[in-house]
Amino acid sequence: MTKTWRLTRRKFLIGLGTLTGGVAVGLPLGLPYLRRQAFRFLSQGGPPSGNIDGEPQLWFEFTDQNLLNINVTKVEMGQGAHTALGQLAAEELEVPWENVRVFQAGTLLGPIDSFGTGGSSSVSGLFTPLRQLAANYRFMLTQAAEEHLNNTVTLNKGVFVDPDGNEITLSAASRLEREWVAPETDAPLKSINDFKLIGKSVPRVDIVSKLTAQPMYSYDMTSANNTTYYGVVARPPVVGAQMQDVDANKAKSLERIISIVLQDNFVGVVAEDRETAIDAIRAININWKLPRLIENTDIDLLLDPDSNNAVELKRVGDSSSALEGSNTISAEYSTPLAATAPLEPQSSLAELGDDGIMYVRTPTQFPNQTTSAVAEAIGFDEDKVDVTPTYLGGGFGRRQRAESAVEAAILAIESGLPVHIGWTRSDEFLFDRFRPPTKHKLRGILNTQGTIEALEHRQSSGDVLFSELPEIAGSIAGSDFGATRGIDVTYNIPNLKLYAHRAKLPIATSAWRGLGLLANTFANESFVDELAFHANQDPLQFRLDHLNGETGSLVRNALLHVAKMSKWEELQQSTKEGSGMGIACCVDYGTIVAQVVQVEINKDTISVPRVWSVMDSGLVVNPNGAKNQVEGNIIWGLGSALKEEITFKKGIPSAKNFGDYQLLRIDESPEIFVDLLPSDRPPQGVGEPAIGPIPAALANAIFAATGKRIRKLPLTI
């Protein structure tokens, strides 16, 4: 059977399509312009979302049983992207949900995404392009069916029917021999009123597998045709240490060792089982040249919100002179280093195929970058490397890089065997790419009407996205748009200034769920609460008094809704000794979140019995999935607000395992109430925004309960 694919037009989403290319585009325009552009784009326009190339057969395939297989570029790490993307495509292709299967595309198979998975952008970014691709394909299939039946057809539940009752399935139509031509003009999209799947809480495609012990994660992968061997790599005692000399004689005599690989600054072992491989690595003596050992005070000193090198992000009015008055209110906030700690430690299976291609299964959020890294490490061309992401046992930003993919590929090449490398929990902690610490200095002044006359926020943060970009990106963009996420202020303030300082820390920091959203919202929303107190106003009313304009009215709606849900006024009045209510909100790209936290203080113990959360994220593709994301973000936010912290001593992070780094537990979790606001706006991100307000809402509740203002995470009484 031959198919001629003549694609007469292609569509590309313009934006920061690739992390590097996108930032470099505007180089001749000059720095200040670009900085403002980058900030505006990233704070209002939305995150980079990848693109879609216009070849439907890469995305959609109908099986003999007329099931629709969809190959998606975005990885599934628990955020529900596979399900939501499946809903978008199946909606336009008129396929019943039970006939939809979703598969992960690899670098050599299926469509390619020049970005990756992150920034809560998978569904919002592909909402129109993927539906359009499916609608165009449906148009082409309809043409084919009409030719075949020589009549007009209608499509219902995966089957074309003509007025005489003759039928042809989508599957059969897709296999007709003809010249397939994409439409010159985009086929019309379904109207919202006709949606059957979008907006419905269809069951997620990955849930049954996850509850019935299916091998779907990287740690579960074994070679399909051969025995799988297990690799372990020697890790330095401190990040940045260099190997001096290596003595592997003792390890060579161990049973069940297959090979020992010694390369420049790399020692690895392949064995028949993991525990033997670990024993062998321990038996290899390595002398390390240590770098300067980092102490927490080194890190702390580099965070300097007052630095002259801070970049101005936004200026409205003249806040400098407005803040000169003697009634200026100022406060300093800080957030610590934190670990990403996905519950599945990273792992990879690498196997050289008979076709000369290196096949890698790995939990990566950025398959293209991982492909490049593997190809470079083993000296292959990139088209001889296939990186197919598995389901991820958590991502949260840590899976931008997949170091184990490179390690497994090196050992697979050197041993000639399929090799699986699984990191230990200690590897995950000691070689994490941490959430950077931040410091924030805020100043504000109230006018005689009791509203905010001027506000200034000076923030200093370690790298979030600059650490993942070429060095030049830093000098072009000026400020790390990951670190500044959430710093913008929605309140109507006549004089406003925002500054960001890049602290170049001697440790690896990177993306963490929500990037800078949690830290910046903690500072902004705590400070607004402080100003409300100084203005002698109710924290809710004070916020409402500063909200107008388009976004402002959305925030206002969310705040009023959460106040009603939580019986804000009633519970504020009636709260007993040691308990209190706090409110906070945030705008994350196009998503608005408002939250109320109830706190109970018992001596030095902070407990949170209830949290109410309202989110307006435009049209929601899968409401139950979106609610699950909000619930998860509340737990994350509370974990950060109450427990999570990494410090450095003698170059080593303070946690090697969960004994030293405790996550929030079920017995510390609140009752959670979530409402999603109906909206006509297109879908916005849902995977991260609800992490933003929680720490501030909790700090505000503690203030209401005790009169103590805590400005440092984790919060302690």
């Binding site: 019935t212 089982d273 139950n624 959670i672």
Partner: protein, 153 residues
């Protein structure tokens, strides 16, 4: 030596007797439903039942398991082709996000419900408190265990 896992006998090489049950299950026997999270008994992802007791397989050497001991893993939850009530409830409430902790969560929940068929919310929180969920699905886990209690025969 032999291990009785989900009412089936598996032969284990003597050299492996000092290894941890988790890795024997996963890498040797292909029972990958039991997951690895920390290797130190903190997180609960590797929870199995040993004679009905929820046990951390990542710190349990197989040599410590007596021949007459019955081991149950997540693969043994479904019986006669139908899912266990705990699995049904977790599906009904669409509990998991990334899902890596879920086998351990369900094994802890099953052990609780077998010992205490009508647990209070506080009983559930106490019994499940050593099972971490990094995605933060605790709210749904608690609701699903309550639902499973109703579905249990």
């Amino acid at each position: 030596m032999q291990l009785n896992i989900n009412d089936k006998l598996y032969n284990i090489d003597r050299v492996d007797s000092n290894r941890k049950l988790l890795w024997i299950l996963r890498d040797q026997l292909g029972l990958i439903g039991t997951r690895y999270g920390c290797g130190a008994g903190f997180c609960g992802a590797c929870t199995v039942h040993i004679n009905g007791q929820p046990t951390r397989s990542c710190i349990t050497p197989v040599s410590a398991i007596a021949p007459d001991v019955r081991i149950r893993t997540v693969e043994g939850l479904a019986e006669n082709g139908s899912l266990h009530p705990v699995q049904q409830a977790f599906i009904e409430l669409q509990v998991p996000q990334c899902g890596w902790c879920m086998s351990g969560q369900m094994m802890s929940a099953t052990a609780l419900l077998e010992q205490s068929p009508n647990p209070s919310r506080e009983d559930i929180r106490a019994a499940m408190k050593n099972n971490y969920c990094r995605c933060g699905c605790y709210h749904r886990i608690a609701l699903a265990v309550e639902r499973a209690a109703k579905l249990m025969p």
